[in-house]
Symmetry: C2
C-alpha cells in the first residue's frame, strides 16, 4: 500500500546520472502533486475530471491560442515566475506579464507617430523618459508598444478586421532619453472565456477581466530588458485583474483634456487624454540577485 514512503519510492526510481536540474524540478513536482492527492483525497471520478480538464486544455491550444498559458496566468503562476525572474535591486521599473498577444515585427515609427490605424477610440498622447537608476537619460532606448483597441481586442486577435500593425509600434528615445507617441485609450477586456479556463473561473466565482493597460518591452544596450504594462488609473478591474498583473507603481493617471483651445492646438475636434511615465532600467552588468527580494 502506498504510505508516506511511497513518494520516496517514486522519486528513487530516477537514475543516478540524469540532469541534476531535471532531478530537482521533478522531485519538487512529484512531491507536491502527491501532497495534493493526499490532502484532497480525490475520488476516482474527480481524478478523471482532472485528467480530462488537462487533456482539453492542451487540445484547445494552437498557433493563436494557448489555454495552458491562460491557466498559468489566471492561477497567478505566471506572475510568480515573472517576479522570480525580475527581482529589482536598484529601483528599476517593476515588470509584469508579457501576455499572449505580443507579436514581434511591429512597425518602426518616428517619435510622435500615431499607432492607431483605424477610426474610433479616444485620442491619447503618451510620453516620458527612459532613465538609468541614477536618473541619467538613456538615449536610443527601444520601446516595443502594443495595446487593445476600444473594443478590447488586439491586432493579432483580429487580423482580418484590424489594419496591419494597428495599435503596435517600435520607438526609440531621443538624445534626452525622451519618448512620445499618439494612440487611443486602451480598454479593459476579458481573457478568453470559452474554454476550460473560462469554465474554471466561473466555477471559482471569478471574473475574466483585465484592467485597461498599454504593454511595453523596453531595452537598451548595457541594461536589463523590461517587460511591463502601464495601467489606466480608475479602471474598475485594477483590484481584480484576472491574471494578477497589476502593481501599484504601474498605475498611471490618464488625464482627460476638455479645454477647447488645447483640443484645437492638438489639431483635434474632441477631448483627448495624456499620460506620462518615467521608466527606469537596471544595468545588465549588475544582475539583480536572486536573494535580493523574497518572493
Amino acid at each position: 500500500m502506498p504510505t508516506a514512503n511511497f513518494t520516496d519510492i517514486v522519486l528513487s526510481r530516477m537514475g543516478a546520472d540524469i540532469d541534476p536540474r531535471l532531478r530537482e524540478v521533478m522531485t519538487s513536482i512529484i512531491s507536491h502533486v502527491h501532497a495534493i492527492v493526499r490532502e484532497v483525497e480525490p475520488t476516482q471520478e474527480e481524478w478523471f475530471q482532472a485528467i480530462m480538464f488537462l487533456t482539453r486544455t492542451g487540445q484547445l491550444s494552437d498557433d493563436v491560442r494557448q489555454e495552458f498559458i491562460l491557466l498559468s496566468d489566471t492561477m497567478g503562476v505566471s506572475m510568480l515566475v515573472d517576479a522570480i525572474n525580475n527581482r529589482k535591486g536598484q529601483g528599476g521599473t517593476e515588470s509584469t506579464v508579457l501576455g499572449p498577444f505580443y507579436a514581434a515585427g511591429s512597425p518602426e515609427l518616428p517619435l510622435g507617430a500615431n499607432i492607431a490605424r483605424e477610426p474610433g477610440g479616444q485620442p491619447c498622447f503618451l510620453s516620458g523618459h527612459v532613465r538609468a537608476p541614477d536618473g541619467s537619460p538613456i538615449a536610443g532606448a527601444r520601446l516595443d508598444v502594443w495595446h487593445s483597441n476600444s473594443h478590447g481586442f488586439y491586432n493579432v486577435q483580429q487580423l482580418d478586421t484590424q489594419p496591419s500593425g494597428n495599435l503596435r509600434g517600435v520607438f526609440h528615445t531621443d538624445a534626452d532619453g525622451r519618448w512620445w507617441f499618439r494612440s487611443i485609450m486602451p480598454s479593459s477586456y476579458p481573457v478568453p472565456e470559452d474554454g476550460t479556463v473560462g469554465n474554471l473561473l466561473r466555477a471559482m466565482g471569478r471574473h475574466a477581466w483585465r484592467p485597461a493597460h498599454v504593454h511595453f518591452i523596453i531595452s537598451a544596450p548595457g541594461f536589463q530588458s523590461l517587460t511591463t504594462h502601464l495601467f489606466v488609473n480608475g479602471d474598475t478591474y485594477l483590484d481584480s485583474d484576472a491574471v494578477f498583473g497589476v502593481k501599484d507603481s504601474l498605475i498611471v493617471d490618464f488625464v482627460r483634456h476638455m479645454d477647447a483651445r488645447e483640443i484645437a492646438e492638438r489639431g483635434l475636434s474632441e477631448p483627448f487624454y495624456t499620460a506620462e511615465y518615467e521608466f527606469v532600467l537596471e544595468p545588465a552588468t549588475v544582475a539583480a540577485s536572486r536573494e535580493a527580494v523574497a518572493v
Copy 2:
C-alpha cells in the same frame, strides 16, 4: 511584488458561494503549484517548456490513447488515488490500477473456456476461489479478465490484427465460489514510449516496462468491487513497474509443468503453466473507513 502573501491573494479571489469541494481542491492545487514555483525558481524558458509539455500531452490524447493518464500512472499518482479509494480494513484482496486497456463488453464465457483466440503463447490454466473475509465462498461472483498477448499487446491496441475478444472474458464462480479458465502466459511490455511521457521517462533515467500480469475486475452483490492484477512471480520488472502497480500480495507463482503425462492429460503437446489465487472481497455494507489505513 508577489511575496508569500501573493498565494493568499490568488486564493482570496474565489467567490463566497462556490462549491466547497471545488474550493478545497483548488486551494490545495494553487498552493502546491505556487510552492513548486518558489522551490524550483523556473526560468522563463523552463516555464515555457512546462507549458509546452502539458500542451503536447493533451494533444497526444484521443479516443485510443490517453497521455495524461499515462503521466499520472508513471508519476505514481494513479496508484496513490487507487490506494486512497481502496483502503482495505478486513483482509480483502489488494487493488491496483485499472490501466488504459480495459474495455467493457468482453464475451461471457463458461468456466474453463479458453480466452486465447490466436495461435502462439504458452498455455496457462488459471483458477481459484472468490471468498468473503470469513472464508465463505461467494457463488456467482463476476470476474472480468483481460491481459496482453505473447508480444505484449492488448486486444484493444491491435483491433486490426488480433481476433475479436482475444484474451478477454467474463466468468462467474460456481456454487463453491470457484473460478477457472484457460489462456496463455501474459508478457511484460513497455507503456507507450513515443510521446511526452516516454521522453520524460528517458530524461529521468527510467524504463517504461510493466511486469507480466493478468487484469481482474471482480464483483458480487453485497460486496465491494475489486480492480486488481495478478503478477507473474519471477518477472524482471516486478521491482521497477513503470506505473508502480505491484503489491507483494498480488505476485503469484505461475508453475511450469513439463511432465509428459500431465501434458497429455490436458490434451496438449507442449509444457503448460498453472496459477491459483484466492480472491477476498470486502462487504459493501461496511465501507472501508478512510482513516483505516494511513496513505
